[in-house]
Symmetry: C2
Subunit: 376 residues, 2 copies
Amino acid sequence: MIGAGKTRFGPSTHAMPRLAQEAILGALDDAGMSIEDVEAFIVANFLGGPNESQLHLNSVIAGLFPDVRRPGWRVEAACASGGAAVHQAVHMLAAYDPILVIGVERLSGRPSGELTRNIGMAGDVTLDQLQGLNFPASYALVAQRHMQRYGTRTEDFEILSLKNHANAQLNPLAHFYHKQVSQSDIDCGATVATPLRLFDCCPVSDGASAVILSAEAIDARSVPLIGTGLSTDVISLAQRYEHTTFASAREAARMAYAQAGISPAGIDFAEVHDCFTIAEIVAMEDLGLAAPGEAVELIRAGQTSIGGALPINPSGGLKAGGHAISATGVGQVYEVCKQLRGEAGERQVRDSRVAVTHNVGGVGGTCAVQVLGRPT
Amino acid sequence: MIGAGKTRFGPSTHAMPRLAQEAILGALDDAGMSIEDVEAFIVANFLGGPNESQLHLNSVIAGLFPDVRRPGWRVEAACASGGAAVHQAVHMLAAYDPILVIGVERLSGRPSGELTRNIGMAGDVTLDQLQGLNFPASYALVAQRHMQRYGTRTEDFEILSLKNHANAQLNPLAHFYHKQVSQSDIDCGATVATPLRLFDCCPVSDGASAVILSAEAIDARSVPLIGTGLSTDVISLAQRYEHTTFASAREAARMAYAQAGISPAGIDFAEVHDCFTIAEIVAMEDLGLAAPGEAVELIRAGQTSIGGALPINPSGGLKAGGHAISATGVGQVYEVCKQLRGEAGERQVRDSRVAVTHNVGGVGGTCAVQVLGRPT
């Protein structure tokens, strides 16, 4: 990874091309190159059609640089679109080098009912969503099952939410950078879907992220991407055997670790897909960072804070950093890159050599996992 | 290319997963393999979100084969989604082999105003579509400019339309297989956007196509895919310098020919993106099969018919074979495969060794070109 750029996540008045442009120019600047140097580009986007009435985004992005014609296309795998695009780019470097990956999403400005319906397109529309099993309800089922099976408590969700909000206050690009969240805020939070309350849920954000990948390092700031995995699972929860773990995430992690030649014990910190607080717990267990049911022990002991033994979501995660759907997976790679270079400022994790990203689509219908190492 | 399957194009009562399943099972059967043998899959789809309220189609398709977990994602590049997915698959064979590419689309069952609006998402929504420059209007401008510059006539469009309808009557999977079209039908066609009339426009179809790619031939029926190209251009016509040719198509063809080591003179027949009759003329010129302004001479002389020196769209093309958007580009590769194997029945082109496919998104915002050769 030779360059990375990102907009702030949160409500924006900018249209998608303008958001993408800011992230692209940031990544190009970071890599010290110009758009002419890029051989191909991949645009990750989920809701451009239903929300913004604009598809064919590779051609829209091409319009930002009218005299540069390159192979480009859009990738979509619900909220895992960004991680899927990075996975794909890694496997296409033999054909195109360097490759620019852009994740962009615009979610604000829509009535909430329409937005809920549109986000529901990431789930099984006929079997699940139309029956009322929208995403908060789906993850509430995951949470209930996890609580029954392992004794996980709502207090665990609260510790996790406070931790991610505290981290976001150290991240100027976070959605809730300026928002201080206390235990009493959490206590006052409305119930969204039992047991999940307001502060168990991530916000919807506008934003864009971009990274540039090359097979060779260009300088001492190049961050080695040493493993990538991607897997899919059936979309409907009704077709699943288990609901406290995602098979796609376990398989994607297995692939990424095998390529990187590491085990979960070799990981120093992680950026994971905490669209709901319970999802961060499931993520830690699916990534093998804790045994099933045991992630809460690390959380209760404060080990997943920035200063702990295994920091999770030092950026604030989706919960407080924001969730600009397709920009999220690419943004995780951006974030890990900043950390491994030692450029993360106040939220810097110390002495980290290997980090993992974990980006989920739907309720585990797709998962992408990437492993990155410290620049050498 | 080791396997190919395709549904009939045209109005269907089947949902997208059922259409995709039929094409996938056809391709697997053709290759003599089972789904377990496939290492990764790519789903090309354009309007699943706006039309069918279903995104995350890689997970939906995974649900057809619930016990098989593979890396998969969706690719979108408007009407070039299928060709873009094939291009990508070719460049990922080092990572995954074999790869299954599925193009699927469902367009029927929507009110025509809504469908026009949704298809408009392939163009620049703010600069072009909302100003009334929808796709028939855009291609009408291309036609007007071509007529002014080169003396192309509406009679040329009519010859071309009659030729493609005649070809479709030889293709049992064509949208208009059962429809006989005469000169008097064309004469009675309503004006859609001057100079384009009803029989200058392709229909919207439901359908799916699937192909399986591998780096190695598996038997004497494997069809070598010897070149692939993909390029993008700015999306808005207002940003273009020229309107009688598509820069993306010329660049994609250049890339594909260079990889195949051929010149346009080496091509025996072509399946091109004739969403409107004028588009077939532009395609022939962009592919270098005729000099600018000279494609009409081949058309007038009957050389582009199945029995001619350079058959174009022996399947009936989009015009009469049907246009199931993302299934179209994959379907072109299916069609060329059947032809080069000598399995095309009544529409068989004789003595052909090399063929080209040409799949356009928007008004040339994206173009994918593939070159295939006869099995050896």
